[in-house]
Symmetry: C2
Subunit: 456 residues, 2 copies
């Protein structure tokens, strides 16, 4: 079987592939807001069926549908590759900052702009189109393929753990490719051998039934001040998280991981320019910034809402205040344990008036740099892009990778195609990928399938 | 001249007065948002002209128009009373919490609901209708009346100081009534002999050009954290403001003021119930709460906006964060001096990355309990309501009283009519007054005019 005819098929069908990608982009699928998930799962299913993948929509108890597909190798390969992706997207807000509608799938030159264009409907489409190209060009696939595309990645995959548990048999495989990545900032494919974990919480404090005239400030407690004071006990300006035991389970990089870290090209000044900022936080130089980026647990205020937010002045004492925070966790911190520590901390600091609601528990995860799927992906990157991939010992972002490594016991890599997330506006207004990234990314996942089938 | 025929005129014209009040209510006049001020000033002017008041709209340099009116006593009284009020209102947000439109002036039983119904279009209308009633019933007023109705009270009267300075001659008077008050919580007229001052600021911090994926948290500074850390240096959970020198100019109540404080009836439990809260902040009992309420300087978070505020989770690192705060000041703290102290504080704490924008500078103010206008108002309350007024040595809220006491050198009281602000939802959704309060309040200001004319 020849990969080159598969890659040729991809090249010849560029326009049709792009059309299908944009169809998928136009369907909102905002998991945080419960918008359009069913509709989107059906579009994905249809896309897969048209590709020749045997597809079912599997319900997740209490969650959004998982689109599951299989293609069995006719030549009887005993090897199975499980491909994971997600069809849900981040909320598009703030809407006024988009230059075109977030679900318009507008084309601006080589850019395809829309929520999900880079994270991760481009990658979902590429996976499906790669399988389709094998089947169209060769009438077979070089190994058995299984696909799961979930609809809750952007909210921390809350129902995927039980889904994985219940479908252990169905999901039996040899390795996993989580095709939900972007390019390294130097424009090369990025292969991540692990992810950070995540704990996402909402803190809420209510002191009066509504906003009051601020002259009552001496006698009615201010919920915004309560959250501020609580926050100030959680993290210091030097970045250190002050919750007792927070760092207890942090494992430093292994020597092998540290070697990979040293090999990562990182031009900090490009990041800074793209972000519109001048200096890295608490880092003397780019290398140090990179190290912090990949190794530090974080405590991030993602949103704070209280009182009057309009123009000018309004003298109110807020009745309630709401805070959203995420905590990125590194190997081998556990999100449920950290949640308990956070709650204990608030209690011990006297903040029982603050309610903690948690959504999103992702454990950190890692895969060995010598895993066959890692080696196969490195080879595939050279094939598809003509340059070597950058191998990250861990990515700074999070994903449900632990379900594959810790629950299913498989090697798993995160990779994908698209402009580096620092540039693609992933999770931000004007998210985009380019037509070239999308087509090359389709060739890349096809090559990974081929390389992994051939590897010893 | 007989006051009773004036009060009779008010009683007989109840319906027409209410109609004019509601017309004024329907006109938005949101100073914080610059909405509808010109239109509203014209409605006020017409209302005054129809009442027989010689009226002019006087521009405020860079500000909203002041509606100025005069009625000269035909019998040649040498005494002049200056009546101050404001036609602007607080922003109506959050709109979704109103049971009827904020500018509908809906009638619910005896309630008239709308932004400005209690603060302070009811009082403006009452003042005008009182003068009208004198002129209709007696064809004269018992002393010379001057009216200024400004359009910036709710944003701290930023342009009133220069207006007062430029119109010193025009505004010559013997005493001032600021008719912009409400009732005491026991349902009696309230006369306040002073107000707190106010400093209103917006703190802004920007670290990236837009919200970023929160995985960048280890390397890009979070502006929301910066504001939180800055805030935590400004005030402690015990309520004490930690800015150096903040309390230096605070003068304790005089013995006369303290005596008044002791005489104020205060049923704290009613407040708590109305607020939907259980305990007073940092106070063992109602009396202590009342004392804090009137004597404490405050530092209030009025609004905080950053990042994602929608439902569910969104893992973003905010690009910027904005905070609104007010500081109520007591005699004789100076808002400009305090602003400088706040800026110095932020600088000394290392927060030069936070921009401070100030709007609203009101100095605290006080008038002697033995001032003739205070005595006249006490007498008028007994006349209009049949019960004695509650005299507050100071109100917990703020107003531009210092312009009358400190700049013009006059005695000035704050009083008015309407449900206690704890109940009337002033500055909050569903603000209301009642038809009875409105009509009785018109009789009350007519009685003040009469009593002050007669006082020795």
């Amino acid at each position: 079987m020849s990969l080159s005819s598969v890659l040729g098929h991809i090249k010849d069908n560029r326009e049709g592939f792009l059309r299908d990608f944009r169809t998928l982009l136009r369907q909102p699928s905002i998991s945080a807001q419960g918008k359009g998930l069913d509709e989107c799962s059906k579009i994905v299913k249809k896309l897969m069926e048209n590709a020749g993948i045997k597809t079912r929509i599997l319900p997740e108890k209490g969650g959004n549908p998982v689109v599951y597909g299989e293609v069995r190798s006719k030549q009887g390969s005993s090897k199975t590759l499980l491909i994971y992706g997600h069809y849900d997207v981040q909320p598009p807000e703030p809407l006024e900052k988009w230059d075109s509608g977030p679900f318009e799938a507008a084309i601006h030159g080589k850019k395809i702009v829309g929520r999900g264009a880079a994270d991760s409907k481009n990658n979902v489409t590429s996976c499906v189109k790669a399988a389709e190209s094998f089947l169209k060009a060769l009438n077979d696939v070089p190994l058995n393929l299984k696909f799961i595309f979930e609809g809750e990645e952007e909210i921390g995959s809350p129902h995927l753990p039980s889904f994985i548990e219940e479908n252990k048999e169905r999901l039996k495989a040899d390795s996993v490719v989580c095709y939900d990545g972007d390019f390294d900032e130097t424009g090369r494919a990025k292969i991540s051998l692990g992810v950070k974990g995540l704990l996402y919480v909402e803190l809420y404090c209510r002191k009066a039934k509504e906003d009051l005239h601020s002259s009552y400030a001496p006698i009615v407690e201010n919920p915004a001040w309560r959250l501020v004071w609580a926050l100030s006990t959680i993290k210091d300006p030097d970045g250190k998280i002050k919750v007792k035991g927070w760092y207890d389970e942090v494992e430093p990089f292994t020597p092998q991981q540290s070697r990979l870290l040293k090999k990562i090209p990182f031009h900090g000044e490009n990041f800074l320019r793209e972000f519109g900022t001048k200096t890295f936080l608490n880092a003397k130089n780019s290398r140090e910034a990179l190290q912090h980026y990949l190794t530090e647990p974080t405590a991030t205020i993602c949103g704070f809402k209280t009182g009057y937010q309009g123009p000018g002045s309004k003298t109110v004492l807020p009745g309630s205040a709401m805070l959203k925070m995420d905590f990125r966790l590194v190997y081998d911190q556990n999100p449920r344990k950290q949640l308990q520590r956070l709650k204990d901390h608030l209690h011990s600091q006297g903040f029982d008036d603050i309610k903690v609601k948690a959504f999103g528990f992702l454990e950190p995860s890692r895969t060995s740099p010598s895993a066959p799927i890692a080696k196969a992906a490195e080879k595939a990157a050279r094939l598809a892009y003509g340059t070597s991939a950058v191998v990250y010992p861990r990515m700074a972002a999070s994903g449900p990778d632990y379900l594959f490594t810790k629950r299913l016991g498989l090697d798993s890599i995160w990779t994908g195609s698209g402009p580096p997330s620092a540039y693609s506006h992933a999770h931000a207004p004007n998210e985009y990928t380019t037509t070239d990234h999308f087509i090359a990314g389709t060739k890349y996942i096809a090559s990974i399938i081929d390389s992994y089938a051939r590897i010893g």
